[in-house]
């Protein structure tokens, strides 16, 4: 039997577990193709319009799984004992039924760690029985799934990219070879050719990311740029006074201690991608190259990028210590913990929070993290995606943010963390 798994939402965090689980049960689990325009559009048609972008993409992927015998849509309630996943995931698969093609069987199981391992196993056994598998087989499958998941997470912690870590579990995902180079090509080609998925074989255009930036900014003229920067500032304008000069001094002191002292405004240095930027947010947004307009690739071509998945559990817990009440969403907890960790250290120069319109957990988390970042005087920007996200808007905001962060690093002037 060939079982289809949509390449959306929980795919990005938990696919290795289910791949191992099904592998051990001798069932073939295949993921849907990479997100493309057709998938996105069919998803928008079938999903309820109130829901968030990832669920809409999920609806598209469900329809893209045509040549399978059944769909697998687990109900991932909780993957840790104290937390939940998002309510919209708790509502799967029922809430997404309108997107399931007529006559396609749907397999589902509740995955709830809050109830303890024994109850979870009982649930999985029940699911296994419906597939004609014995208890022993299910237990073995659970073990293998756990092993695969651990291997995936360890590999992410080591700093390997998502594609590199996922490759062995999902052959469709192939890591890019020459990452930095290709990233810049993507940026170049994307900027030139408008809204199209980034091409694998980069086409000509021997420009580096930074040059494209400057061309663009110059081309646009000063006024546009001003607008973009104000956008970065957002509601935080009022705070500007509080920050003042003391901020930049503090920051620079940190840099000197770290032994990466900037030498000044020489043109050579401007070309060097010396920034380190943390990109925080749900993995199903940061890794969803199509929906986020290759944000990760763009960033990587201009800066060293750190991600939530690379932060160890201990540091996340440390980052969360300033919160009086613990967040009860797994992902939000990781994002806030990692984000707080990035805010405090001198390792990263700025934080970009990638969110999407209608994300309930992010509406709380991004605000909490904004407060932490402000206290620590770390540049912070929220990018909100939706199905109408335009290339130009994203690039402009990104460039403005990177510009500001870079100027702060080079202590050109007192540039506040909020713009």
């Amino acid at each position: 039997m060939k079982v289809g798994f949509p390449r959306a939402v929980y795919y990005y965090d938990y696919f290795p577990f289910w791949a191992g689980f099904f592998e051990s049960l001798n069932l073939e689990l295949v993921a849907s193709p990479l997100t493309n325009r057709r998938i996105m559009e069919s998803g928008l048609k079938k999903a309820s319009d109130e829901t968030c972008l990832p669920i809409k993409i999920l609806a598209g992927h469900i329809q893209a799984l045509k040549d399978v015998d059944a769909l697998f849509l687990p109900r991932m309630v909780s993957t840790e004992e104290q937390t939940y996943l998002c309510p919209k995931l708790l509502g799967l698969p029922e809430s997404i039924f309108p997107a399931v093609p007529q006559g396609m069987p749907v397999l589902t199981v509740n995955f709830n760690r809050r109830l303890g391992k024994r109850r979870l196993l009982a649930e999985l056994e029940h699911f296994g029985a419906s597939l004609g598998k014995s208890r022993v087989e299910v237990h073995r499958a659970f073990e293998l799934g756990g092993e695969w998941q651990e291997r995936f997470e360890k590999s992410r912690l080591k700093g390997l990219s998502f594609a590199e870590s996922m490759e062995e579990f999902d052959p469709v995902v192939r890591p890019k070879r020459r990452k930095a180079e290709e990233g810049s090509q993507n940026l170049a080609s994307a900027t030139v050719r408008g809204k199209e998925p980034p091409a694998r074989e980069g086409q000509g255009a021997e420009v580096t990311g930074r040059e494209v930036t400057e061309q663009e900014v110059v081309g646009r003229g000063g006024s546009d740029r001003g607008v973009a920067e104000r956008e970065v500032v957002g509601r935080e304008v009022t705070e500007r006074k509080v920050v003042g000069g003391e901020v930049t001094n503090r920051k620079v002191a940190g840099r000197e201690a770290a032994g990466r002292e900037p030498t000044g405004n020489t043109p050579e240095e401007r070309k060097e991608p010396s920034l380190t930027i943390a990109l925080v947010g749900h993995s199903y947004l940061t890794q969803e190259t199509y929906a986020n307009l290759n944000l990760l690739g763009r960033l990587q071509s201009q800066a060293t990028v750190r991600l939530v998945e690379e932060v160890e559990a201990g540091r996340i817990a440390e980052g969360l210590r300033s919160q009086r009440k613990a967040l009860f969403w797994s992902h939000a907890r990781k994002i806030l913990g990692a984000g707080s960790f990035f805010s405090r250290g001198d390792e990263v120069d700025g934080i970009i929070y990638l969110s999407c319109f209608g994300c309930g957990t992010d509406s709380i988390t991004q605000d909490l993290l904004a407060r932490v970042a402000r206290r620590e005087h770390k540049p912070y920007m929220v990018l909100t995606l939706d199905e109408h996200s335009g290339e130009a808007g994203l690039v402009t905001r990104l460039e403005a943010f990177l510009d500001m962060t870079e100027r702060r690093v080079r202590r050109e002037s007192d540039v506040s963390a909020h713009g």
């Binding site: 999903a47 309820s48 109130e50 829901t51 109900r75 309630v77 937390t83 939940y84 996943l85 998002c86 309510p87 919209k88 708790l90 509502g91 029922e94 809430s95 997404i96 039924f97 309108p98 509740n110 509601r235 919160q323 009086r324 009440k325 967040l327 009860f328 969403w329 319109f357 209608g358 994300c359 309930g360 957990t361 992010d362 509406s363 709380i364 991004q366 605000d367 909490l368 407060r371 909100t384």
Partner: protein, 377 residues
């Protein structure tokens, strides 16, 4: 210590009674209005849900009256409301409001943590017996309040003139606020029922049986007329009898007393009713919304309206499932999403159109099943 709390419909009557019985100084925030919402919207994260924005406005207005401590219930997720207390504390602190926030919640599912927090609020001068007595009395008040609201729901469409019903409602509410003994509390619904009968006997009622519409959805938008732009009153004025999926006492029983008390309209039956459509709780009242919709459909209601604040996660899940109930029971269901930009005229138009459709369906001019595209899909 001057305690304040967020508004949620008439809940303030109950909360005020509780604190006054314990001799705790309490500041009831001024009634929620447009200004309240504006204050809250300025501070709240843009994409936070509507109740959070109104809460913040309530606190700021209460601060102007001297409040320094906020009491709010908590939760363990996955609905955002469970994190309101902490989130609001940080927002207010950064905005320069020096509030102490007490989150009333059973932190690990035990009632002990709740008891400790009540003890903190009540201070050492109150004995446990007195605290328990005060809580019981306040709870009783919430049950009576629900009875009053239910009677008003029935009276509005039958009265013909909208003002008379609102007058009786205001009077009953006043009696409820003043009620300090169980006897006087239990008198309130009896007196209201009598007043309604008197009004009808005097010829002040229409003759036709009203349409019945079930209101389901997120509790704050159901209970707070400001958030729903008085949708219940609007429906009543259009000659529709309203019933709700959730009343205050049911929520208190479930959320605060962990099911030890069931309230006026118990929520217990809903998960079972929802089972064929949604097999797992999804936080907030998503599961209850689905269960209540099935319940209303089975009881032969003419239509169902779902209320939710924009971006409410559990209700979005429920909204994705309601069309199946609509098809299975052939009952029109309309979803109304509310946020700070919702306009009264727009909402009123939609409600009127919906009621119009229900009326035509009932009068037989539209066949069952031919009006299934009303969910706004």
């Amino acid at each position: 210590m001057k305690v304040t709390f967020p508004h949620m419909g008439n809940a303030w009557i109950v909360i005020q009674a509780l604190f006054e019985a314990l001799d705790v100084e309490v500041v009831v925030p001024p009634p929620t209005g447009k200004g309240t919402l504006n204050l809250g919207t300025k501070l709240a994260p843009e994409s936070a849900c509507l109740p959070l924005k109104i809460n913040l406005g309530n606190y700021i207005e209460a601060a102007a009256k001297g409040a320094d401590t906020i009491v709010i219930t908590g939760g363990t997720g996955p609905c955002r409301f469970g994190f309101y207390g902490e989130s609001e504390r940080q927002i207010l602190a950064d905005a320069g409001y020096d509030f102490e926030v007490v989150i009333l919640e059973p932190p690990d599912g035990s009632l002990w943590g709740l008891a400790q927090r009540i003890r903190y609020l009540a201070g050492s001068k109150n004995s446990w017996a007195r605290i328990v007595g005060a809580v019981r009395f306040a709870y009783e008040k919430s049950v009576v309040l629900d009875q009053v609201e239910d009677l008003v729901h029935a009276a509005r469409p039958r009265f013909g003139d909208a003002v008379a019903a609102e007058k009786l409602y205001a009077k009953a509410r006043q009696h409820l606020i003043e009620g300090t003994s169980y006897t006087s509390l239990h008198q309130v619904p009896l007196r209201l029922a009598q007043a309604i009968r008197d009004h009808q006997a005097a010829g002040g009622s229409g003759d036709k049986e009203p349409l019945r519409v079930g209101i389901v959805g997120e509790i704050y938008t159901i209970l707070e007329p400001f958030a729903s732009l008085d949708v219940e009153q609007q429906l009543g004025a259009l000659g529709v009898e309203v019933d709700r999926s959730i009343y205050l006492s049911g929520w208190v029983g479930q959320h605060v007393f962990r099911g030890l008390a069931q309230g006026y309209r118990p929520l217990r039956a809903y998960p079972r009713l929802a089972k064929p459509y949604l097999g797992h709780f999804v936080g907030g009242h998503g599961l209850e919304t689905v269960g209540a919709a099935v319940n209303f459909a089975r009881r032969g209601f003419d239509g169902i309206i779902q209320l939710l604040p924009l971006g409410c996660m559990p209700e979005i899940v429920a909204a994705g499932i309601l069309p199946r109930i609509q098809a299975d029971f052939s009952i029109p269901i309309m979803t109304l999403t509310l946020d700070e930009h919702t306009g009264r005229a727009g909402l009123q138009t939609r409600v009127e159109a919906f009621v119009d459709l229900l009326e035509r369906r009932k009068s037989g001019r539209l066949k069952r099943g031919s009006v299934l595209s009303v969910a706004g899909k």
